[in-house]
């Protein structure tokens, strides 16, 4: 019977140890999030009918849980375009196209929001482009 008890204790110990779950401690350091735009260029001017291409490499030292792109009027914060997706990676190439339909001149902000730390923290990167009718 002693052997049974010993075996039970060993199995219980293994299960207990296997239940310890380590976690990436670099989570949540938003300074490690990088966004490198290939397109569009900050400050570039587009005209009505032009296709605004957003092509950016997003990277982080730990897991990226999601990324969102927004194009909004800088003056009013009205969102003209938005898309997001969930991710489970440490790098991602974001590619979107938006056709400029603006009838008035304005400055738009292109915002890329990156969710990290299991979606509890968010890094934001912003550039501006101009549109003219």
């Amino acid at each position: 019977m002693n052997n049974y008890i010993k075996t039970t204790i060993i199995i219980a110990a293994v299960v207990f140890l296997a239940s310890c779950q380590k976690k990436d401690i670099s989570l949540g350091n938003l300074n490690n999030v990088t966004v490198q735009y290939k397109q569009a260029i900050d400050g570039k001017t587009f005209h009505k009918g032009d296709t605004v291409v957003i092509d950016a490499d997003v990277a982080y030292t730990s897991e990226i849980n999601g990324v969102m792109l927004q194009i909004a009027d800088s003056a009013t914060d009205v969102i003209l375009y938005q898309d997001d997706q969930d991710l489970h990676t440490d790098h991602f190439n974001l590619q979107h196209e938006w056709v400029d339909t603006c009838t008035t001149a304005m400055t738009l902000k292109v915002i890329i929001t990156i969710a990290v730390a299991n979606g509890t923290e968010f890094a934001e990167n912003k550039i501006h482009v101009n549109v003219q009718p």
Binding site: V15, Q21, D24, S62, Q85, D86, G119
Partner: protein, 306 residues
Amino acid sequence: MKQLFYIIATTMALCQSAAACDLCGCAASSQYMGLLPQQYQHFIGLQYQYASFTANQPSIFDKDEIENADEYINTYQVWGRYSLSKKVQLFAFVPYHQNRGTDLETPIKVDGLGDITVLANMTLLKQEACTKKLKYTLLVGGGIKAPTGANKGITQLDEEGLPNVQAGTGAWDFITNANYTVSHGKSGLNVDASYTFTTTTKEHYKYGNHLNSSLLYFYQLQQKWVTLLPQVGIKYEYALHDYDNFDRKWLNDNSGGSLVFAAAGVQAFCNHIGARVLYSIPLAQNYAGGNVTTHSRLETSIYFLF
């Protein structure tokens, strides 16, 4: 009394991951072997399991936006037992999955061979001689689940948050289990526990280790040509968090949890034929941070004893 013990001399239950996922973990796939007859050494059977769940996952960027998934898991399984000796028994499970549902309004249709499991169990304690005393059996054992089921790795659906409604997990699992059955007269209790140690997939994903346990009360009703075993009890399941990338310790907080079921069913034995129906209703659950709701499960099986 004597007949009861012969019928229920060996009992075991175990759970195995077959179609786990990021949100549902092993909620979709648990397996209970039930009370097995001892007077025959071997058997082969066909089993059908049904499980379903609903996932309501808040969007990362807009908590008011709920991403919904409804999934229905149908598993048809060939399984059997081969007794190597009086004390050692081998079990094998060959599942075939039919998974249906919608995920973010995308239809899900997965058909295919699942992960095959092989187990060895040994009888460590057995008391069967006296008719007026308690009779009991203790089985312990373990085995492996091989990644024989189709697994396409990380798919688009995975990226959107539901990694696995695939037929296979893509990873090896190691299972250990223990089962204790005690009976007196026509009544008996079965206590069972199994623990699954998971490993990583090729993509470094790791499903959480999980514990499955159950406590069942059964009673023998002996008819002329058939033995019926009504049974009621509870089941408890617990799963650790998954890792999106185990090598880098990317713990997925939106996975794992616990479930408690009430279970009721009946088994019947008639000569070389056995059959079983078990229905489980969730009593309490906290899975994937409460974003996943597991519904009732049904399990039926029929087997030929020889």
